[in-house]
Assembly symmetry: C2
Homo-oligomer: 296 residues x 2
C-alpha cells in the first residue's frame, strides 16, 4: 500500500458543506488513472477544517468510490481523545490505513508528540502513517523521534517533508532516516516539486497534492522512478516546472483548488473559509499554466 503514487484529493465544499458529488468525481478520476492509493482527508483534503461528522462522511464516501484501491484517512486533531475518536470512525468507514500529523496550537515537545503516537497506535487495528508537515503543524521531527515512533506498533510509513533538490543531498537525507528507521516502515516523500528527487533517492512513495486532482500529469514521474529511470523521472517533473513555480508562489493547496475549479471538477470557492481562493490575476496565471501543460 505504501509504494507508488498516493493521491490526495481535495475535499470540495459547496456553500460551506461537503460537495459529495464533486468529491466522487475526483475519486473516480484517480481510480481511472490508476493511482496506487488514495489519501483522503490529508491537508489537501482540508481535514483540519471539518467536523467529526463531515470527516466520517468523507471517509465513507472515499472508501466507497475507491472501489478497492486502498484509502488512507487523515485522523489528525489537536486533542488526543479526538484523534482516537477519528481513528475509530476511519476504521469503521473501511480505511486501509490512517495518517496522523501532530497538529498543534500550544507548541508541542518531543515527549508530547511521542505520547500522542503511543496513545493512538495502542488502539489501532490498521497501519498508521506518521505525517511530518512542519509548514502546517509547526512541529519539527528529529530523525531520532522518527525512530522512536517507528518502533511503536502499527507504524507502517512516514510521510516526510520535501527533500533537498540536489540529488546527493536528498540521498544523504534518506540514508540518514533509513539508518534509524527499520525497513518495514516505508518512507514517502511530500512536496510535489521535489518528489522526483525524493523517489530517485529511495523514497518508496509520493504523497501528492496535485496528483489528487490531475493524476495523469504526475504518474509518469512515479512510473519512471519505479522502473529505474531517474533521468526520466526528473524530466517528467521538469516538464511541470511552471506548476511548481505557482506552488512556490501561492501554496499547493490554493493552486490545486484553482485548477480543479477551472477544470469544472468542483464548484467555485471550494476551500473552507477563511482560506480564500486565489485572486483573479493569480487565477489567470493558473489557467495559462493549465493550458500550457495540457492539464485536464
Amino acid at each position: 500500500m505504501f509504494t507508488g503514487l498516493s493521491a490526495f484529493p481535495l475535499t470540495p465544499l459547496i456553500e460551506d458543506r461537503f460537495d459529495e458529488a464533486a468529491h466522487a468525481g475526483l475519486i473516480t478520476r484517480l481510480i481511472d488513472a490508476g493511482v496506487d492509493s488514495i489519501g483522503a482527508l490529508g491537508s489537501t483534503g482540508s481535514y483540519a477544517y471539518l467536523d467529526r461528522d463531515e470527516r466520517h462522511q468523507v471517509a465513507r464516501a472515499s472508501v466507497r468510490e475507491a472501489d478497492g484501491v486502498p484509502v488512507v484517512v487523515g485522523i489528525g486533531a489537536l486533542r488526543t481523545s479526538h484523534v482516537q475518536a477519528l481513528a475509530e470512525d476511519a476504521q469503521q468507514a473501511g480505511a486501509s490505513a490512517v495518517l496522523l500529523a501532530p497538529m498543534s496550537y500550544q507548541p508541542l515537545t518531543d515527549e508530547d508528540v511521542f505520547g500522542l503516537y503511543e496513545d493512538v497506535t495502542a488502539e489501532l487495528s490498521v497501519p498508521l502513517v506518521v505525517y511530518d508537515n512542519p509548514g502546517t503543524t509547526h512541529f519539527t521531527f528529529s530523525t531520532e523521534l522518527y525512530a522512536r515512533i517507528a518502533a511503536l506498533p502499527n507504524v507502517a510509513a512516514i510521510k516526510i517533508p520535501p527533500v533537498p533538490l540536489d540529488a546527493a543531498a536528498a540521498r544523504k537525507r534518506i540514508d540518514a532516516i533509513r539508518a534509524l528507521v527499520p525497513g518495514h516502515v516505508s518512507i514517502g516523500v511530500s512536496g510535489d516539486s521535489a518528489a522526483s528527487t525524493g523517489l530517485n533517492a529511495g523514497c518508496q512513495s509520493w504523497f501528492s497534492v496535485v496528483g489528487g486532482t490531475v493524476p495523469e500529469a504526475v504518474l509518469p514521474i512515479v512510473r519512471a522512478a519505479q522502473e529505474g529511470d531517474p533521468a526520466g523521472a526528473l524530466a517528467h517533473s521538469e516538464r511541470l516546472r511552471p506548476l511548481w513555480e505557482l506552488f512556490a508562489a501561492h501554496g499547493s493547496l490554493r493552486v490545486t483548488a484553482a485548477i480543479a475549479e477551472h477544470l469544472g471538477l468542483v464548484a467555485p470557492r471550494c476551500l473552507p473559509r477563511p482560506v480564500l481562493g486565489l485572486s483573479t490575476s493569480q487565477r489567470e496565471n493558473v489557467v495559462r499554466v493549465v493550458e500550457e501543460l495540457h492539464l485536464s
Copy 2:
C-alpha cells in the same frame, strides 16, 4: 470592560472532561481578588482543544460564576462558520465580549484574516477583541491590518503580543499602533513578563495568564500602573522574575497549570493531551518558586 486586569483562567480537565467544580473555584478566586474582567476560553483556557458543547458549557459556567464581572469568551476556530457558531453560543451564554484569534492550519494571508473578521463582526451584537498571538496562530499582523480590522463594526480592543522590555521601545511600539488604530479601540498587552512595561507604555489592559490563577500576585502591577506609578509597576513585576524565568523556559501555560495543580486548585494533569504537564524535576522548580514568592 477593556481596562485593568483581564484574568484568563485555565479550563481544567479531569479524566479528559471539563472539571466544572475546579473551574468554579478558579473563577471565584478571581472575583474575590477583584479582577476587572475574566477571559474564558483563551489560550490559557485551552479553547482550541475543546469541542463546541464543552465550550458552550465553559462559557455558561464562567458567566454564572463571574457574578456580574464581565466575561470575554474566546471563539477562535479554524473555519469561519465554526467561529460564527461559537460566537452565537458565547452570546447566548451571556458573554460581555468575544475574543478571536486567527487560528491557522494552512498559512493565512492578510486577506483571509481580514475576511474572517469581516464575516464574524457582521453578525455580532457584543464587542470583539482581536487576539494577536503569533506563537500559537503562526499569523503575523501588520499594524496596517490592525487598522483595517479596527474599522470594522464591533471591534473594541486588540490583544497585542509582548512589547519590547525597553521602555522607550515599548512606548514607540504602542504609539505606532495608536497612530493607526482609533482611540475607541482599546489596546491590551499580553505576555505576562513584559506586561508592566506594556501598561507603563500606554496599554489600557493586561490580558494575563498567571493572573487567571494567582490574581493577587499580579494585581499590584496593574494598580500601580493605573495610579501613575510606573516604577512601582516595574518593581512589583520584578519581584516575580523567578516566575517569568520559568515561563521563558517552559511556556506560561504549562507553568501556570503546574502552579494550579500544586496549589490543589485543579486535579493533576489538568491540561488536554497531547499537551503533557511539566516533568517531575521541572515541577520541583515550580514549587520552589511558588514558595519563594508566597503564591497562593
